[in-house]
Protein backbone atom coordinates (compact mmCIF):
# COMPACT_ATOMS: atom_id res chain seq x y z
CA UNK A 1 0.00 0.00 0.00
CA UNK A 2 1.41 3.35 -0.92
CA UNK A 3 0.78 6.60 0.81
CA UNK A 4 -0.63 9.65 -0.84
CA UNK A 5 2.63 11.50 -0.39
CA UNK A 6 4.39 8.96 -2.57
CA UNK A 7 2.27 9.92 -5.49
CA UNK A 8 2.89 12.98 -7.50
CA UNK A 9 -0.82 13.51 -7.86
CA UNK A 10 -2.03 15.17 -4.70
CA UNK A 11 -5.67 15.46 -3.99
CA UNK A 12 -5.68 18.73 -2.12
CA UNK A 13 -4.04 21.29 -4.31
CA UNK A 14 -5.26 24.83 -3.98
CA UNK A 15 -6.51 26.39 -7.19
CA UNK A 16 -4.13 28.93 -8.70
CA UNK A 17 -5.20 32.37 -7.61
CA UNK A 18 -3.91 34.31 -10.56
CA UNK A 19 -6.11 32.44 -12.99
CA UNK A 20 -9.35 33.50 -11.45
CA UNK A 21 -10.35 36.97 -12.55
CA UNK A 22 -10.67 39.42 -9.73
CA UNK A 23 -14.09 40.28 -8.46
CA UNK A 24 -15.60 43.14 -10.35
CA UNK A 25 -15.81 46.39 -8.52
CA UNK A 26 -12.76 45.90 -6.31
CA UNK A 27 -10.76 48.45 -8.27
CA UNK A 28 -12.56 51.80 -8.37
CA UNK A 29 -10.64 52.98 -11.42
CA UNK A 30 -11.89 50.07 -13.49
CA UNK A 31 -15.43 50.18 -14.80
CA UNK A 32 -17.48 47.71 -12.83
CA UNK A 33 -18.17 44.62 -14.83
CA UNK A 34 -20.28 41.62 -14.02
CA UNK A 35 -18.73 39.40 -16.61
CA UNK A 36 -15.30 37.79 -16.49
CA UNK A 37 -14.61 38.39 -20.16
CA UNK A 38 -14.69 42.12 -19.52
CA UNK A 39 -11.79 41.59 -17.19
CA UNK A 40 -8.49 41.72 -19.04
CA UNK A 41 -6.28 40.08 -16.44
CA UNK A 42 -6.48 36.64 -18.02
CA UNK A 43 -5.04 38.07 -21.23
CA UNK A 44 -1.73 38.89 -19.57
CA UNK A 45 1.39 37.05 -20.66
CA UNK A 46 1.64 35.08 -17.42
CA UNK A 47 -1.77 33.54 -17.89
CA UNK A 48 -1.31 32.53 -21.51
CA UNK A 49 -1.02 28.85 -22.32
CA UNK A 50 2.24 27.83 -23.92
CA UNK A 51 1.01 24.88 -26.06
CA UNK A 52 4.41 23.31 -25.67
CA UNK A 53 3.27 19.91 -26.91
CA UNK A 54 2.84 21.29 -30.41
CA UNK A 55 5.55 22.01 -32.97
CA UNK A 56 6.88 25.57 -32.90
CA UNK A 57 5.15 26.70 -36.07
CA UNK A 58 1.74 25.37 -34.99
CA UNK A 59 1.57 26.96 -31.55
CA UNK A 60 -0.16 30.15 -32.55
CA UNK A 61 -2.76 28.29 -34.58
CA UNK A 62 -4.50 27.39 -31.35
CA UNK A 63 -5.94 29.37 -28.51
CA UNK A 64 -3.67 30.38 -25.68
CA UNK A 65 -6.45 31.52 -23.34
CA UNK A 66 -7.43 29.59 -20.26
CA UNK A 67 -11.02 28.60 -19.49
CA UNK A 68 -12.76 31.18 -17.34
CA UNK A 69 -15.22 30.38 -14.59
CA UNK A 70 -18.69 31.48 -15.52
CA UNK A 71 -19.99 34.09 -13.09
CA UNK A 72 -23.63 35.00 -12.86
CA UNK A 73 -25.28 37.86 -11.12
CA UNK A 74 -29.01 37.53 -11.55
CA UNK A 75 -30.01 34.61 -9.36
CA UNK A 76 -33.61 34.45 -10.50
CA UNK A 77 -32.67 34.23 -14.13
CA UNK A 78 -29.98 31.70 -13.28
CA UNK A 79 -32.54 29.49 -11.57
CA UNK A 80 -34.70 29.65 -14.64
CA UNK A 81 -31.74 28.82 -16.86
CA UNK A 82 -30.84 25.91 -14.61
CA UNK A 83 -34.38 24.60 -14.87
CA UNK A 84 -34.07 24.80 -18.65
CA UNK A 85 -30.68 23.10 -18.64
CA UNK A 86 -31.90 20.27 -16.44
CA UNK A 87 -34.72 19.48 -18.83
CA UNK A 88 -32.65 19.48 -21.95
CA UNK A 89 -29.67 17.23 -21.34
CA UNK A 90 -27.97 16.27 -24.55
CA UNK A 91 -25.54 13.41 -24.24
CA UNK A 92 -22.33 13.15 -26.16
CA UNK A 93 -22.37 9.82 -28.00
CA UNK A 94 -18.84 8.93 -27.08
CA UNK A 95 -18.23 5.40 -25.93
CA UNK A 96 -15.55 4.54 -23.42
CA UNK A 97 -15.47 0.95 -22.27
CA UNK A 98 -18.29 -1.54 -22.01
CA UNK A 99 -20.74 1.04 -20.65
CA UNK A 100 -21.02 2.48 -24.12
CA UNK A 101 -22.79 -0.69 -25.27
CA UNK A 102 -24.99 -0.90 -22.22
CA UNK A 103 -26.18 2.68 -22.54
CA UNK A 104 -27.79 2.00 -25.89
CA UNK A 105 -30.98 0.49 -24.36
CA UNK A 106 -31.66 3.91 -22.87
CA UNK A 107 -32.60 5.39 -26.19
CA UNK A 108 -34.70 2.46 -27.31
CA UNK A 109 -38.43 2.23 -26.79
CA UNK A 110 -38.33 0.46 -23.44
CA UNK A 111 -36.54 3.21 -21.48
CA UNK A 112 -36.72 6.00 -24.05
CA UNK A 113 -34.85 8.90 -22.52
CA UNK A 114 -36.09 11.27 -25.18
CA UNK A 115 -39.31 11.63 -23.17
CA UNK A 116 -37.07 13.22 -20.50
CA UNK A 117 -35.66 15.72 -22.94
CA UNK A 118 -32.44 13.78 -23.44
CA UNK A 119 -30.88 12.62 -26.64
CA UNK A 120 -27.55 11.56 -28.08
CA UNK A 121 -25.56 14.09 -30.05
CA UNK A 122 -22.79 13.15 -32.44
CA UNK A 123 -20.50 16.10 -31.73
CA UNK A 124 -19.17 17.67 -28.54
CA UNK A 125 -20.25 21.08 -29.75
CA UNK A 126 -23.92 20.14 -29.33
CA UNK A 127 -23.68 18.07 -26.19
CA UNK A 128 -23.96 19.06 -22.55
CA UNK A 129 -23.55 15.73 -20.74
CA UNK A 130 -20.47 13.54 -21.04
CA UNK A 131 -21.08 9.95 -19.94
CA UNK A 132 -17.89 8.13 -19.02
CA UNK A 133 -19.12 4.61 -19.59
CA UNK A 134 -16.51 2.34 -18.08
CA UNK A 135 -12.78 1.87 -17.95
CA UNK A 136 -10.65 4.70 -19.27
CA UNK A 137 -7.37 3.75 -20.89
CA UNK A 138 -4.67 6.32 -21.44
CA UNK A 139 -5.37 6.43 -25.14
CA UNK A 140 -9.05 7.09 -24.46
CA UNK A 141 -8.28 9.64 -21.79
CA UNK A 142 -6.55 11.80 -24.36
CA UNK A 143 -9.71 11.79 -26.48
CA UNK A 144 -11.90 12.34 -23.43
CA UNK A 145 -9.95 15.44 -22.42
CA UNK A 146 -10.14 16.78 -25.92
CA UNK A 147 -13.86 16.11 -26.27
CA UNK A 148 -14.66 17.46 -22.82
CA UNK A 149 -12.86 20.71 -23.49
CA UNK A 150 -14.59 21.08 -26.84
CA UNK A 151 -18.03 20.82 -25.28
CA UNK A 152 -19.72 24.15 -24.79
CA UNK A 153 -20.72 25.11 -21.31
CA UNK A 154 -22.62 24.47 -19.19
CA UNK A 155 -21.43 20.87 -19.29
CA UNK A 156 -21.79 17.98 -16.91
CA UNK A 157 -20.06 14.64 -16.47
CA UNK A 158 -21.66 11.39 -15.33
CA UNK A 159 -19.24 8.57 -14.47
CA UNK A 160 -20.96 5.23 -15.00
CA UNK A 161 -19.53 1.85 -13.88
CA UNK A 162 -17.05 1.06 -11.16
CA UNK A 163 -14.07 1.19 -13.51
CA UNK A 164 -14.45 4.92 -14.01
CA UNK A 165 -14.78 5.46 -10.28
CA UNK A 166 -11.99 3.37 -8.76
CA UNK A 167 -10.51 1.28 -11.54
CA UNK A 168 -12.84 -1.67 -10.99
CA UNK A 169 -11.43 -4.91 -12.28
CA UNK A 170 -8.64 -2.96 -13.97
CA UNK A 171 -7.23 -1.83 -10.62
CA UNK A 172 -3.78 -3.22 -11.43
CA UNK A 173 -3.72 -2.42 -15.12
CA UNK A 174 -0.73 -0.61 -16.56
CA UNK A 175 -2.87 1.24 -19.05
CA UNK A 176 -6.02 2.26 -17.20
CA UNK A 177 -6.47 5.22 -14.92
CA UNK A 178 -8.23 4.57 -11.64
CA UNK A 179 -9.92 7.87 -10.87
CA UNK A 180 -11.49 9.86 -13.65
CA UNK A 181 -12.20 12.74 -11.27
CA UNK A 182 -8.53 13.67 -11.20
CA UNK A 183 -8.57 14.42 -14.91
CA UNK A 184 -11.99 15.94 -15.52
CA UNK A 185 -14.55 17.05 -12.93
CA UNK A 186 -17.39 14.60 -12.30
CA UNK A 187 -20.87 15.57 -11.13
CA UNK A 188 -22.59 12.22 -10.61
CA UNK A 189 -21.27 8.69 -10.12
CA UNK A 190 -23.31 5.61 -10.94
CA UNK A 191 -21.88 2.45 -9.42
CA UNK A 192 -22.26 -1.05 -10.75
CA UNK A 193 -20.65 -3.39 -13.18
CA UNK A 194 -22.71 -2.90 -15.30
CA UNK A 195 -25.42 -0.68 -13.78
CA UNK A 196 -28.90 -1.41 -15.01
CA UNK A 197 -30.51 1.23 -17.24
CA UNK A 198 -32.72 2.11 -14.28
CA UNK A 199 -29.63 2.95 -12.25
CA UNK A 200 -28.25 5.13 -15.02
CA UNK A 201 -31.57 6.92 -15.28
CA UNK A 202 -31.57 7.42 -11.52
CA UNK A 203 -28.15 9.01 -11.99
CA UNK A 204 -29.55 11.35 -14.59
CA UNK A 205 -32.41 12.24 -12.24
CA UNK A 206 -29.85 13.06 -9.57
CA UNK A 207 -27.95 15.17 -12.07
CA UNK A 208 -31.12 17.10 -12.82
CA UNK A 209 -31.62 17.78 -9.13
CA UNK A 210 -28.05 18.99 -8.83
CA UNK A 211 -28.37 21.26 -11.82
CA UNK A 212 -31.62 22.77 -10.59
CA UNK A 213 -30.05 23.31 -7.17
CA UNK A 214 -27.14 25.05 -8.85
CA UNK A 215 -24.63 22.50 -7.54
CA UNK A 216 -23.42 20.96 -10.80
CA UNK A 217 -20.50 23.34 -11.18
CA UNK A 218 -17.93 20.98 -12.66
CA UNK A 219 -17.15 23.34 -15.49
CA UNK A 220 -16.27 26.16 -13.11
CA UNK A 221 -14.21 23.78 -11.00
CA UNK A 222 -12.28 22.78 -14.10
CA UNK A 223 -11.60 26.41 -14.92
CA UNK A 224 -10.56 27.27 -11.39
CA UNK A 225 -8.30 24.25 -10.87
CA UNK A 226 -7.19 24.20 -14.48
CA UNK A 227 -3.47 23.91 -13.72
CA UNK A 228 -4.03 21.00 -11.36
CA UNK A 229 -6.15 19.07 -13.85
CA UNK A 230 -3.73 19.83 -16.64
CA UNK A 231 -0.75 18.63 -14.59
CA UNK A 232 -2.55 15.36 -13.81
CA UNK A 233 -3.46 14.84 -17.44
CA UNK A 234 0.04 15.52 -18.68
CA UNK A 235 1.51 13.19 -16.13
CA UNK A 236 -0.20 10.13 -17.60
CA UNK A 237 -0.55 11.19 -21.25
CA UNK A 238 3.05 10.85 -22.29
CA UNK A 239 2.75 12.02 -25.90
CA UNK A 240 0.98 15.31 -25.40
CA UNK A 241 0.76 16.55 -28.97
CA UNK A 242 -2.33 18.72 -28.75
CA UNK A 243 -3.05 22.23 -27.53
CA UNK A 244 -3.19 22.80 -23.80
CA UNK A 245 -6.83 23.83 -24.03
CA UNK A 246 -8.99 22.70 -26.95
CA UNK A 247 -11.98 24.83 -27.78
Amino acid sequence: MIEDKDLDIQEETPPPESVIPAEAGTDPTEPASRYPFHNTEWRSEDCKLRNEGLPEEERDWFADARPQPARTSNQIMEKFFNWCRAHSLWILAFGTGCGAIELRPLVTSRYDISRLGMQMRPTPRQASVFVIGGYVSIKTLKRIVRSYEQMQGPKFVVAVCSCAINGGMYWDSYNTIKRIDEYIPVDVYVTGCMPRPEAVMAGFTKLKELIMAGKAEGQNLYAEKFDWYKANQKQVIKDWNMPDYNW
Binding site: K139, I165, N166, G167
Partner: protein, 174 residues
Protein backbone atom coordinates in the same frame (compact mmCIF):
# COMPACT_ATOMS: atom_id res chain seq x y z
CA UNK B 1 -2.59 -33.94 -41.82
CA UNK B 2 -0.04 -36.57 -40.92
CA UNK B 3 0.61 -37.21 -44.63
CA UNK B 4 1.30 -33.55 -45.15
CA UNK B 5 3.74 -33.59 -42.26
CA UNK B 6 5.58 -36.63 -43.67
CA UNK B 7 5.69 -34.93 -47.05
CA UNK B 8 7.08 -31.71 -45.67
CA UNK B 9 9.55 -33.46 -43.43
CA UNK B 10 11.79 -34.33 -46.37
CA UNK B 11 12.11 -30.68 -47.22
CA UNK B 12 12.17 -28.90 -43.82
CA UNK B 13 13.52 -29.68 -40.37
CA UNK B 14 10.16 -30.22 -38.72
CA UNK B 15 9.47 -31.69 -35.30
CA UNK B 16 6.85 -32.07 -32.58
CA UNK B 17 3.87 -32.92 -34.78
CA UNK B 18 0.64 -33.13 -32.85
CA UNK B 19 -2.94 -33.45 -33.97
CA UNK B 20 -5.78 -33.34 -31.49
CA UNK B 21 -8.60 -32.81 -33.95
CA UNK B 22 -9.05 -34.11 -37.49
CA UNK B 23 -8.91 -30.60 -38.92
CA UNK B 24 -6.19 -29.08 -36.80
CA UNK B 25 -2.52 -29.88 -36.43
CA UNK B 26 0.58 -28.30 -34.97
CA UNK B 27 4.22 -28.52 -35.87
CA UNK B 28 7.46 -26.88 -34.93
CA UNK B 29 10.10 -25.48 -37.26
CA UNK B 30 13.43 -23.68 -36.70
CA UNK B 31 13.26 -19.94 -37.16
CA UNK B 32 15.57 -19.85 -40.18
CA UNK B 33 13.22 -22.13 -42.14
CA UNK B 34 9.95 -20.68 -40.91
CA UNK B 35 9.27 -18.18 -43.68
CA UNK B 36 10.29 -20.71 -46.33
CA UNK B 37 7.90 -23.26 -44.84
CA UNK B 38 5.03 -20.78 -44.61
CA UNK B 39 5.59 -19.67 -48.21
CA UNK B 40 5.64 -23.31 -49.29
CA UNK B 41 2.42 -24.04 -47.41
CA UNK B 42 0.72 -21.01 -48.89
CA UNK B 43 1.78 -21.53 -52.50
CA UNK B 44 1.89 -25.32 -52.85
CA UNK B 45 -0.47 -26.75 -50.24
CA UNK B 46 -3.26 -24.20 -50.34
CA UNK B 47 -2.95 -22.68 -46.87
CA UNK B 48 -3.88 -19.32 -48.28
CA UNK B 49 -5.27 -17.66 -45.17
CA UNK B 50 -3.30 -16.30 -42.21
CA UNK B 51 -5.63 -16.78 -39.25
CA UNK B 52 -3.39 -15.18 -36.68
CA UNK B 53 0.13 -14.53 -35.57
CA UNK B 54 0.67 -14.53 -31.86
CA UNK B 55 3.36 -14.99 -29.25
CA UNK B 56 3.92 -16.83 -25.97
CA UNK B 57 6.63 -15.78 -23.54
CA UNK B 58 8.46 -18.85 -22.17
CA UNK B 59 10.56 -16.90 -19.72
CA UNK B 60 11.97 -20.02 -18.03
CA UNK B 61 13.51 -21.27 -21.28
CA UNK B 62 14.44 -17.75 -22.41
CA UNK B 63 12.37 -18.19 -25.57
CA UNK B 64 9.49 -16.52 -27.37
CA UNK B 65 7.15 -18.89 -29.17
CA UNK B 66 5.67 -17.34 -32.30
CA UNK B 67 2.59 -19.16 -33.55
CA UNK B 68 1.45 -18.76 -37.13
CA UNK B 69 -1.96 -20.32 -37.71
CA UNK B 70 -2.77 -20.99 -41.36
CA UNK B 71 -6.05 -22.09 -42.87
CA UNK B 72 -6.75 -24.10 -45.96
CA UNK B 73 -10.02 -23.14 -47.63
CA UNK B 74 -10.23 -26.26 -49.81
CA UNK B 75 -10.45 -28.88 -47.08
CA UNK B 76 -10.97 -26.43 -44.16
CA UNK B 77 -7.96 -27.46 -42.15
CA UNK B 78 -5.86 -25.39 -39.80
CA UNK B 79 -2.13 -25.76 -39.38
CA UNK B 80 -0.29 -24.09 -36.55
CA UNK B 81 3.40 -23.41 -37.11
CA UNK B 82 5.38 -22.85 -33.93
CA UNK B 83 8.66 -20.99 -34.12
CA UNK B 84 10.94 -20.49 -31.13
CA UNK B 85 13.19 -17.46 -31.08
CA UNK B 86 15.58 -16.16 -28.47
CA UNK B 87 14.14 -13.86 -25.87
CA UNK B 88 17.18 -11.63 -25.76
CA UNK B 89 17.31 -9.27 -28.76
CA UNK B 90 14.26 -11.03 -30.18
CA UNK B 91 13.99 -10.71 -33.93
CA UNK B 92 12.15 -12.61 -36.64
CA UNK B 93 11.78 -12.40 -40.40
CA UNK B 94 8.74 -10.47 -41.53
CA UNK B 95 5.95 -12.13 -43.53
CA UNK B 96 4.21 -8.94 -44.63
CA UNK B 97 5.12 -9.75 -48.25
CA UNK B 98 2.98 -12.91 -48.01
CA UNK B 99 -0.04 -11.35 -46.28
CA UNK B 100 -0.45 -7.62 -46.07
CA UNK B 101 -2.31 -7.85 -42.77
CA UNK B 102 0.67 -9.48 -41.09
CA UNK B 103 2.19 -6.03 -40.62
CA UNK B 104 -0.52 -5.22 -38.07
CA UNK B 105 0.22 -8.39 -36.12
CA UNK B 106 3.90 -7.64 -36.24
CA UNK B 107 3.34 -4.08 -35.12
CA UNK B 108 1.39 -5.39 -32.16
CA UNK B 109 4.07 -7.93 -31.28
CA UNK B 110 6.72 -5.23 -31.47
CA UNK B 111 4.82 -3.12 -28.99
CA UNK B 112 3.65 -5.84 -26.64
CA UNK B 113 6.69 -8.13 -26.63
CA UNK B 114 9.47 -6.06 -28.17
CA UNK B 115 10.03 -8.50 -31.02
CA UNK B 116 11.64 -6.83 -34.01
CA UNK B 117 10.54 -7.65 -37.55
CA UNK B 118 13.07 -5.91 -39.81
CA UNK B 119 11.51 -4.50 -42.95
CA UNK B 120 7.93 -4.59 -41.75
CA UNK B 121 6.26 -1.27 -42.68
CA UNK B 122 5.17 0.99 -39.83
CA UNK B 123 6.55 -1.39 -37.25
CA UNK B 124 7.40 1.20 -34.62
CA UNK B 125 4.21 3.26 -34.88
CA UNK B 126 2.29 3.27 -31.60
CA UNK B 127 -0.37 0.57 -31.70
CA UNK B 128 -2.29 0.85 -28.44
CA UNK B 129 0.15 2.39 -25.97
CA UNK B 130 0.85 5.89 -27.14
CA UNK B 131 4.09 7.31 -25.85
CA UNK B 132 5.03 4.20 -23.89
CA UNK B 133 8.52 4.47 -22.42
CA UNK B 134 8.76 1.40 -20.19
CA UNK B 135 9.51 -2.23 -21.13
CA UNK B 136 7.07 -4.08 -23.43
CA UNK B 137 4.06 -4.88 -21.36
CA UNK B 138 3.28 -8.48 -22.28
CA UNK B 139 6.71 -9.75 -21.30
CA UNK B 140 6.21 -11.76 -18.18
CA UNK B 141 8.87 -9.92 -16.18
CA UNK B 142 6.88 -6.68 -16.50
CA UNK B 143 5.11 -6.08 -13.20
CA UNK B 144 1.81 -4.47 -14.11
CA UNK B 145 0.69 -4.04 -10.50
CA UNK B 146 3.86 -2.23 -9.47
CA UNK B 147 3.64 -0.01 -12.53
CA UNK B 148 0.02 0.82 -11.79
CA UNK B 149 0.80 1.67 -8.18
CA UNK B 150 3.66 3.98 -9.01
CA UNK B 151 2.07 5.75 -11.97
CA UNK B 152 -1.63 6.09 -11.15
CA UNK B 153 -3.33 7.15 -7.96
CA UNK B 154 -5.86 4.85 -6.39
CA UNK B 155 -9.04 5.78 -4.64
CA UNK B 156 -8.69 4.79 -0.99
CA UNK B 157 -10.99 2.01 0.01
CA UNK B 158 -13.71 2.63 2.56
CA UNK B 159 -14.98 -0.37 4.47
CA UNK B 160 -18.28 -0.30 6.30
CA UNK B 161 -18.86 -3.19 8.67
CA UNK B 162 -22.57 -3.98 8.57
CA UNK B 163 -22.86 -4.23 12.34
CA UNK B 164 -21.16 -0.89 13.00
CA UNK B 165 -22.97 0.76 10.12
CA UNK B 166 -26.42 -0.23 11.30
CA UNK B 167 -25.52 0.66 14.86
CA UNK B 168 -24.54 4.14 13.76
CA UNK B 169 -27.66 4.45 11.72
CA UNK B 170 -30.21 3.14 14.20
CA UNK B 171 -28.69 4.08 17.54
CA UNK B 172 -26.44 7.05 16.85
CA UNK B 173 -26.47 8.24 20.47
CA UNK B 174 -25.06 5.00 21.90
Amino acid sequence: MKELYELLKDRFRLSDFSQKQPVQAWLKVPSDQAVALITHLRDIHGFSHLVMLTCVDWIEQGKFQLTYILHNYHDHKDLGVKVYIDRESASMESIHHLWEQARTYQRELYEMFGISFPGSPGLTDPFILEGWDDMPVMRRDFDTKAYSETHYSHRPREIHEPEEHMKQRMYPED
